[in-house]
Every structure is written in structure tokens, then in C-alpha cells.
Symmetry: C2
Subunit: 215 residues, 2 copies
């Protein structure tokens, strides 16, 4: 498997920085908020990225940059074009993630394993991921330009290149992450006058893209 | 407790028709999709209705019209202005719902019990609920007017009266529900060119209202 084709292979993709999400499968499905390092929020981002009513967004992928103990960094990727057995509830999605994170992953950067269809785990950190992306990179940030304006000005166009949207979990970007992301991104965008959970921000981002794509 | 003040007491409220969600507390937190009658989707609607990043939407309430076995109809209400102990993950929210539905509720229409702070269960069906609402009623429907147009035309204004948004779970409205709701509602609205899960539609609806309220 070529990690570049997984990370950069969808027309639309969401990258969520999961600052303390656990990086092995040794967690209980009954304690996703605590021992699994707030994996619950990442599961909701997976749901918001991929699900339509009675269907899946086949043009979309979602990637969680897992930085928690005991084996960081890893990137968990779920590709809408291939994924199977994914249901919208947190617990069953957590079971798929647990299975994927239980597979042995070599220490080499770029080492990659497939779990169930469409679910991959790659050895890599933010710098590794950014180095693999050829498409346009957008950074969700409260101080960014309103997505409404970006969409109406055509800056959010999905023609010609893939679009990659970076978000943080319930913690803010670190200074180092911010420097890397601001250097790599086309622009910073915001979705609301209020501060939203990452999964709600993904739903709103999808909505503006869905509207733009039919205009 | 006066059910009218619970059902009609928030500036913004979401009413979700939960066609087969269980109406007692006799379900396992490990099987929210099956034995609990797709309660998982209702839990996600509660999350999307009430949570902000590091905060709660205190002007919002969410109500699930529960129609599943063994004791329908019941309305589960969670009021953002009062609720405590609510966390964003599905499992802990399910535990609060299970506790609320385990309390004995008399058979009289309008009988009401409080569980943990801000969580109420009322005996009543759709007709009962509609009879208690004084504010503006909006019906989410794929064939409805685009919420973008409603917001820009001022039809979605939140001044002067409370706003109530009705949505269905993963099943479509029944013919009887549709007749009642169309008769009571100011208009039908849609949020996307695609068909979304109810919780994603709530996130998008909030976003348009949040934008309108700061213009």
C-alpha cells in the first residue's frame, strides 16, 4: 500500500489532530472518553465525515493523527471509497478502530497496514502527512475567513485538485503544529461565529462544499 | 412541572421523531442500535443540538418523541438551560436516558417526571406536543425551501417567538405525521442537496441560525 494514495486519494478529506488518542488497541469499548484518550470525539469525526442518510460519502476520506500513548505517531485512515462494515454508532466504529490499532505496525515512517477494508494505519506524524499531500490544504481556525465567503469567492472550489481540511480535537493546535499547518495551507477558514466541536464543523464544511458543487 | 414550559420554553428547539426508540430503561448500553431501537441516532441528535466546544447551548432544547415498545408514547426532553452531567459521548448520554426512562410515568397525557437536572419525560404523542407549542414550527423535509434562502429572506428570524424544528430519525415521516406537521408548520425547509442524517441536519440548521443571529 502506498500511503500517499491513502492520504491524498480522495476528492475531499478531513485530517483531525488527536492529541492524546491511544495508539494501540488496548482500551475498553466501555471507556472511550477516558482510557482511550478521548477517542469518542474522533469517532464522531469519522461519522460526520463519511455518513449520508442510507449511504456513504464515497468521495471522502477521514484521517486521525493519533498522538497518545503508547506507540505514537500513527495515522488512522478510513477511505469512503472502500470502507465496509462501518456503522454510524460510536461503539461499533470504536471496535473497528480497536482492531486496526491492534495490528503490529513497524517503526519505519510510512509503514502501513490494512485492517478491515478501507481502514489503514500508517506510521507517521504531521510533517510526514503534510509531505504526502499534493492537493489544496485548508486549516480550520476560529480566526480564519468565513467558509461562506470562501465558497462564494470560488476559493473553496473542488475542481482540479483534492481538498484537505485540517482540524484539531478538543485541544487547540500546539505552536509547532500551527507553524507547520500555516506554512502548508492555502488559507485558514472558520465555519461559525461560535466555537464548535470538530465533528459539527465537519458537517458544516461538507454542507458548504455540497452546495458549491451543485452551483 | 408544566409540560408546555418544557416543550415550548427555549428560543430554539429540535423535535426528533424516534419511530422505534425504546420507551423504558430496559436496554443494554452495549446495544443501543438494536435492542434500544436505534437510540444511537437520537443520542447523536442530543449531542448536535446542545454541545458547543467547551460549553452548552443554553438557549436550546431537544425533544425525542419516542414511539417504540413497550410503553409509548413518551417525550424525552433535554433543556440546555438546566441540564447537568451531560457529556458528548453516546454511552454516557445513553446512561442518562436509560435512567430517565426507568422512572414510572403515569398513563395520563401530560404526566411528567424529572430525572437528572434538565431531563424530563412527558406522556404524550405528536398531537399532544403540537398542541403545546406557541412558537414558530418548521419542518425539515427534502422538498422544502433551502434554509439559506429562508435565512436570507428573514423567514428564519428568531426574534419575537421561539423556533421549533421537527425532524425524523432514519425513517421517513408517516402519512399521518406528515399531515399533522404540514398543518402546524410555518414552512418546510431543507438543509442540503444531499440527504443527511438528522444530527448532521441539526448542525447545519444551528449554523444558519447562528449566522443569522449575528447579522
Amino acid at each position: 500500500m502506498d500511503p500517499a494514495s491513502i492520504l491524498d486519494g480522495s476528492a475531499r478529506s478531513f485530517f483531525v489532530l488527536a492529541h492524546r488518542a491511544r495508539t494501540d488497541g488496548d482500551f475498553s469499548l466501555n471507556d472511550l472518553c477516558g482510557a482511550a484518550g478521548r477517542l469518542d470525539g474522533i469517532l464522531r469525526c469519522i461519522n460526520a465525515s463519511l455518513f449520508l442518510s442510507h449511504g456513504m460519502r464515497r468521495d471522502t476520506s477521514v484521517h486521525a493523527l493519533l498522538m497518545g500513548d503508547p506507540d505514537p505517531p500513527k495515522v488512522l485512515s478510513i477511505c469512503g471509497s472502500e470502507v465496509r462494515y462501518l456503522n454510524p454508532d460510536e461503539r461499533s466504529t470504536a471496535a473497528l478502530v480497536k482492531r486496526a490499532l491492534s495490528i503490529h505496525l513497524p517503526m519505519d515512517p510510512g509503514a502501513c497496514v490494512v485492517s478491515t477494508p478501507g481502514i489503514y494505519v500508517t506510521r507517521g506524524d504531521l510533517a510526514y502527512v503534510l509531505g504526502k499531500l499534493q492537493g489544496r490544504i485548508y486549516l480550520l481556525d476560529e480566526g480564519g475567513l468565513d467558509i461562506w465567503k470562501l465558497a462564494s469567492d470560488g476559493i473553496l472550489s473542488e475542481t482540479g485538485a483534492n481538498s484537505h481540511f485540517f482540524l484539531s480535537d478538543d485541544r487547540d493546535y500546539t505552536s509547532a503544529e500551527r507553524i507547520s499547518l500555516e506554512g502548508a495551507s492555502l488559507c485558514k477558514f472558520s465555519v461559525s461565529p461560535l466555537t464548535l466541536h470538530a465533528d459539527h464543523a465537519i458537517s458544516v464544511t461538507h454542507n458548504f462544499l455540497d452546495r458549491s458543487s451543485i452551483d
